[in-house]
Amino acid sequence: MSGHTDMVLVDENGLRIDGRTAEQHRPFKVEAGVLNNADGSAYVEIGKNKVLAAVYGPRECHPRHLQNPTKAIVQCKYNMQSFSVSDRKRPGPDRRSIEISKIISEALEKVVLTELYPRASIDVYIEILQANAGTRCAGLTAASVALADAGIPMRDIVPALAAGKADGHVLLDLNKEEDNYGQADVPIAIIPSTDEIVLLQMDGNMTREEFDHGIEMAVAGCHELHELQKDALKRRYSKKAEEGSE
């Protein structure tokens, strides 16, 4: 958020450097059931972001001291692979990854019916294969599909998308340049059936109007993304659901 550039991020016609208008999100791609061992898995692309998510569980909680006697805990680990960013990232969790892991775990705990599995753990792993701003949103989007793929009971499938501001314009789904040189970044995740917010962060400088406008666009974008999440599961499994009993 603190870089400076002579680059024009939004031109006089309101077009961004990748040709989008302010309200357009990048292309989405969602696939379910992409790994063998994991109980559930998903692959998501949002623009140039490429993200893999896998779920194991419910299973015995490790470490044991984190067990909750009344419900399952959701343990999410978000990780960026070394080659996912232009400046190679040293392997291992950094403070940013730990914070992101925490807020994604919390978002998912709200949605998963954890009371059905006391003392257990639902382990979610998010690997960023390629990053281009908005990885935590892509990660949570993939994690939600992976949870449904694993058959874990949840209230709804959660989509996440970010709004932001660059060159004074409020924009939907910032790309890398807009994130680096822009003026605000607002990732958000919602429960589509109720529009409740389960993840929200903001950094930068926005007026109330700008923020409200950003949220409105992001929520609409989330609903679109949600359709793709559902579609990914249906494409993967609807043949198995069709008529077949004897």
Binding site: N36, Y56, R59, F83, V85, S86, E127
Partner: protein, 256 residues
């Protein structure tokens, strides 16, 4: 719960192996189906996603200008790392690479380094001051046995398709990473008295010893690693070496 192999399965597998048969129908020297896709990660300077049967690995190459080692001032640097990330198997835990990941990285590195696959002498930018540093990072995504060969293949394919990003650093034009050969590793495990090539997870679980042999394009040996708690006889070693050359050539042909 983590999967504990039942004695029924163990007994059944061992019985079949006495007749030279494997549960998945393969012969003792058959390698599983190999699928390779390169250039999957734009942010990497080279990348490959490899599947051997159900084992899946991704490798990425990042090439960065850096300082050479003092004793080799005009030679580029090659570094290999590997992680057994938890999504790949229910028994993999989070955390810094453990001994399995470290061994995996070092064995893959040995094959690449000792074969001279990357022409490190051609990676000098300013003699004595600046050279290209080649980082290879490997991640297991789905583990069904034989990470050694899958990881080696992914690293090799990522390097073969890598580009030195000269333009990004103002150090000349982009050009392909100079490659001289294609080292291929072949891993076998010993179960009872039978040696089988490209073990899957279950086969690894009941094996006693493991041998990984890396050959180059002319069939010379570049690296070897014996693992596991069992032992191998000299005859068994000889058999493994023969198979490594033969199977190595087959795989080299598949990846082109």
């Amino acid at each position: 719960m983590t999967e504990m192999m039942s004695e029924i399965k163990r007994d059944h597998m061992m019985k079949m192996l006495e007749d030279g048969k494997r549960l998945d129908g393969r012969g003792v020297t058959d390698v599983r189906e190999i699928k390779v896709i390169t250039d999957v990660i734009e942010s990497a300077d080279g990348s490959a996603r490899v599947k051997m049967g159900k084992t899946e690995v991704i490798a990425g190459v990042k090439i960065i200008p850096g300082t050479p080692f003092p004793d080799t001032p005009n030679i580029g640097v090659l570094t290999t790392g590997a992680e057994l990330i938890p999504m790949a198997h229910p028994t993999f835990e989070s955390g810094p690479p453990g001994e399995d990941a470290i061994e995996l990285a070092r064995v893959v590195d040995r094959g690449i380094r000792e074969s001279g696959m990357v022409d490190v002498e051609a990676l000098c930018i300013v003699p004595g001051e600046e050279v290209w540093m080649c980082f290879v990072d490997i991640y297991a995504l789905d583990y069904d046995g034989n990470l050694f060969d899958a990881a080696n293949l992914a690293a090799v394919c990522a390097l073969k398709s890598a580009t030195i990003p000269g333009e990004q650093y103002g150090k000349g034009e982009n050009k392909p990473l100079p490659i001289t050969c294609t080292p291929i590793s072949i891993t076998e495990v010993k179960i009872g008295n039978t040696l089988i090539v490209d073990p899957n997870f279950d086969e690894e679980q009941i094996s006693t010893a493991r041998l990984t042999v890396t050959t180059d394009d002319v069939g010379n040996f570049r690296a070897m690693q014996k693992g596991g708690c069992g032992s191998i006889t000299l005859d068994e070693l000889s058999l493994c070496l023969d198979r490594a050359v033969e199977k190595g050539a087959e795989i080299r042909k598949i990846i082109g």
